[in-house]
């Protein structure tokens, strides 16, 4: 047992001036910049959610006006999707870990990486401006012709904000892809990479291929409003359904931008806390790519009631079912990894279990929605809301928090308090399920989304859901408090507090600016927990 001390020089203490942060090209500092920014957006999006749940306690919908309620759910969706979930794991953990995991000094384009953050902040400012100067009421999906002809709110401004932030996403994806292709340390072959990197590669692929289509689509919406064009105006021959096709061509894959990184984190956590190589490593790696590719072929399942021909609906339904295969491969392989593993229940592992549980529920209910008949019944109901919150909150945020806890000692050099962390994880898990499970039932009973006045028989379940939301809100505050506390008072972590495998644990915590004293040479596969004895045998 050695007494751990913080390394004398690390990326956090090289320079304390504000300038050194705002002009940094260090991927680790850029991770911190993103971490602060998206935490702020999460708080704003969360405040809107709080208002929504408060309003829904009462079936008469008297807390806010109809117009305000429309703006609340719209801004909640826009902020959470485009300014929290899409950048969440990639821009923070991805930025921090990709160069470290492959043994590089930085990402391929460090200046571009910083530029991405500035672009993201600029887009965020536009959207916040749209919000402060009156808000948007179209729903986060901007469906035409409402968004182009009817809405009197700041649609153009919000669309331009998302357009700009989209380029941050594109450039981050580009940067990561080139980094993974060209910056790997000697011996770090593709199949020696930690699975987190495979998932980041798949995510980057979606960002690079999907986001430009969203960009041009939102540009068309803004142009149509400002210049009074008729591209999506049915009265002049335009086709509003074309908007839906173009929008979902990005926005369905975007769901996988949010969930695939969480899968990558889960793979790391399961391996580290069961002391085993992930069962069927290659299958899990390729499953990430398969989800990325299939994700581009299923957008039509959002249009089942929008007048899609029955044959294309059948094809889209079938293709949507196919996504279940790589998803199931991951879930089965994670559980198979636990078998005969030396499993410990540290906080990150609790989040990993939470991820698997909620992703499974969210994924299976996705199959309900891909079914042509059932989708007509539950389309635009709370069933859909519950489904995608199980994926995007239950899945993506559990992955994000699990990863944040696991790599927190590496990022800050200090450990968080384990007891409080376990309490936080448990509170979030219970609060989340209490919030969203009743919504499955509400949706199946027929409560539509985006309404704040509803029949009184739905009140009991809505109150249950709002009660859950307050538990969930407290759950999110607990980590916020103790993580900040740990920055000053947390025990010194040492280089590798978990005894985990992976290049990021071979350097100091926090790491020096260029990550490694000497470029590492990789000689073993990822998660080589069983390899120690074998290695000594081989000599």
């Amino acid at each position: 047992m050695t007494t751990a001390v913080l390394p004398r020089e690390n990326y956090l203490n090289t320079d304390y001036r504000l300038r050194s942060w705002l002009l940094t090209t260090d991927h680790k500092r850029i991770c911190i910049l993103y971490l602060l920014t998206i935490t702020m957006f999460f708080a704003i999006g969360g405040a809107f959610a709080t208002m929504i749940r408060l309003s829904l306690v009462n079936p008469a919908g008297t807390l806010v006006s109809d117009e305000t309620y429309n703006k609340l759910f719209t801004m909640h969706g826009i902020i959470m999707v485009f300014f929290f979930l899409v950048p969440s794991i990639p821009a923070t953990l991805g930025n921090f870990l990709i160069p470290m995991m492959i043994g590089a000094k930085d990402v391929a384009f460090p200046k571009l990486n910083l530029a991405s953050w500035y672009i993201f902040v600029t887009g965020g400012c536009f959207t916040l401006w749209a919000l402060i100067s009156g808000g948007v009421d179209t729903g986060w999906t901007f469906y035409t012709p409402f968004s182009t002809l009817s809405s009197n709110t700041n649609v153009s401004l919000a669309a331009i904000g998302i357009f700009i932030a989209g380029f941050a996403s594109i450039l981050t994806g580009l940067n990561f892809m080139v980094t993974i292709h060209r910056m790997r340390a000697p011996g770090m072959t593709w199949f020696r990479m930690p699975l987190f990197l495979w998932s980041m590669y798949a995510t980057s692929l979606i960002m690079v291929l999907g986001t430009p289509v969203l960009a041009i689509t939102l540009l068309l919406v803004a142009a149509e409003r400002v210049l009074h064009l008729g591209i999506f105006d049915p009265s002049r021959g335009g086709d509003p359904v074309l908007f839906q096709h173009l929008f979902w061509f990005y926005s369905h894959p975007a769901v996988y931008i949010m969930i695939v990184p969480g899968m990558g984190v889960t793979s790391e956590l399961i391996a580290a806390f069961s002391r085993k190589r992930i069962f069927g490593y290659e299958f899990v790696a390729f499953a990430s790519l398969a989800i990325a590719v299939l994700g581009f072929l299923v957008w039509g399942h959002h249009l089942f009631v929008a007048g899609l021909s029955i044959y294309s609906a059948m094809v889209f339904s079938l293709l949507s079912y196919l996504v279940a295969i790589p998803s199931a491969i991951k879930v089965f392989n994670w559980t198979a990894t636990l078998y005969k593993g030396s499993v410990s229940y540290a906080t990150p592992m609790l989040y990993a279990f939470g991820f698997i549980w909620m992703f499974t529920i969210g994924g299976l209910t996705g199959l309900f929605l891909a079914a042509l008949g059932l989708d007509v019944h539950v389309h635009d109901t709370y069933f859909v809301i519950a489904h995608f919150h199980y994926i995007m909150v239950g899945g993506a945020i559990m992955g994000y928090l699990g990863g944040l806890h696991y790599w927190w000692p590496k990022m800050t050099g200090r450990l968080y308090p384990e007891g409080w962390a376990k309490l936080g994880a448990l509170t979030i898990f219970l609060g989340f399920n209490l919030t969203f499970f009743p919504q499955f039932i509400l949706g199946y009973m027929g409560m539509p989304r985006r309404y704040h006045v509803y029949p009184p028989e739905f009140q009991a379940l809505n109150v249950l859901s709002s009660a859950g939301a307050s538990v969930l809100g407290i759950g999110y505050l607990i980590p916020l408090v103790y993580l900040l506390w740990s920055l000053k008072y947390g025990p010194i972590a040492g280089d590798n507090p978990w005894g985990a495998k992976g290049l990021e644990w071979t350097t100091t915590s926090p790491p020096p600016t260029h990550n490694f004293a000497v470029t590492p040479i990789v000689t073993e596969p990822a998660y080589n927990y069983a390899g120690e004895q074998e290695e000594s045998r081989v000599g």
Binding site: A104, K105, A108, G230, G237, L242
Partner: protein
């Protein structure tokens, strides 16, 4: 093989790379991926074009006849020539011939500017002929709403292409400056090559735009 690279790291090498070769690989791959995103960016517009052209073939054919084919054809020739001069600039960079790089980049720059000037003239005539979508839009022989969609797409597609040309011209100035400062050599000239990739891509977009927008039903 008598380079000084073995002694000290070359000046152009950035801190996080091991070699100039890696730096060049990274730049090239980065630009290729960027061009893929550009293809998808324009891809959304091409999709919209295809959908509406198949919905309103007659209006699109009539509207297309109102485009100025002479200017469009001249611009096509200008852009193809500029791709040639760009390719020659890259070749000069590979040969390490500084003067030729600058000369060909200047040619490319002039051709690109000529394209934009002609495009500006064309837009002016289009507006005079009431082809700009909006309150003043008027066209004979076709459903005005459908023809207006054609011209909305025409202005957005050629407009975004022109913005890409302006970005390209600015980048050309940067590359000329870097060349004049002696940043490139036979061993390292990745920025010139990457510039070339971008320029050719913007040309290719036009190669698709020209027939789709100007040449529908011109065979009569």
């Amino acid at each position: 093989m008598t380079s000084q690279a073995a002694v000290a790291p070359p000046r152009a090498l950035q801190h996080h790379f091991d070699s100039l070769e890696q730096q060049r690989d990274v730049a090239t791959l980065g630009m290729w991926i960027f061009l893929v995103t550009e293809a998808l960016f324009f891809g959304g517009l091409f999709t919209a074009y295809l959908v509406y052209r198949s919905m309103y073939p007659h209006a699109f054919a009539v509207a297309s006849e109102h485009t100025l084919i002479a200017l469009g054809a001249a611009n096509t020739a200008i852009l193809i020539t500029s791709s040639l001069t760009m390719a020659l600039a890259v070749h000069a960079a590979q040969e390490g011939n500084q003067k030729s790089i600058i000369r060909f980049l200047v040619f490319t720059f002039l051709l690109g500017t000529a394209f934009l000037v002609l495009k500006g003239v064309e837009y002016t005539v289009d507006m005079r002929d009431h082809l700009l979508p909006g309150a003043n839009f008027a066209i004979a022989g076709a459903n005005p709403g459908h023809a207006e969609i054609f011209f909305s797409l025409y202005f957005i597609m050629t407009g975004l292409h022109a913005i890409h040309m302006i970005v390209g011209l600015s980048l050309l100035v940067v590359i000329m400056y870097m060349t004049s400062k002696g940043r490139f050599s036979k061993e390292y000239h990745a920025p010139v090559e990457v510039m070339g990739l971008y320029w050719h891509f913007v040309d290719i977009i036009w190669i698709f735009l020209f027939p789709l927008l100007y040449l529908i039903d011109r065979h009569k």
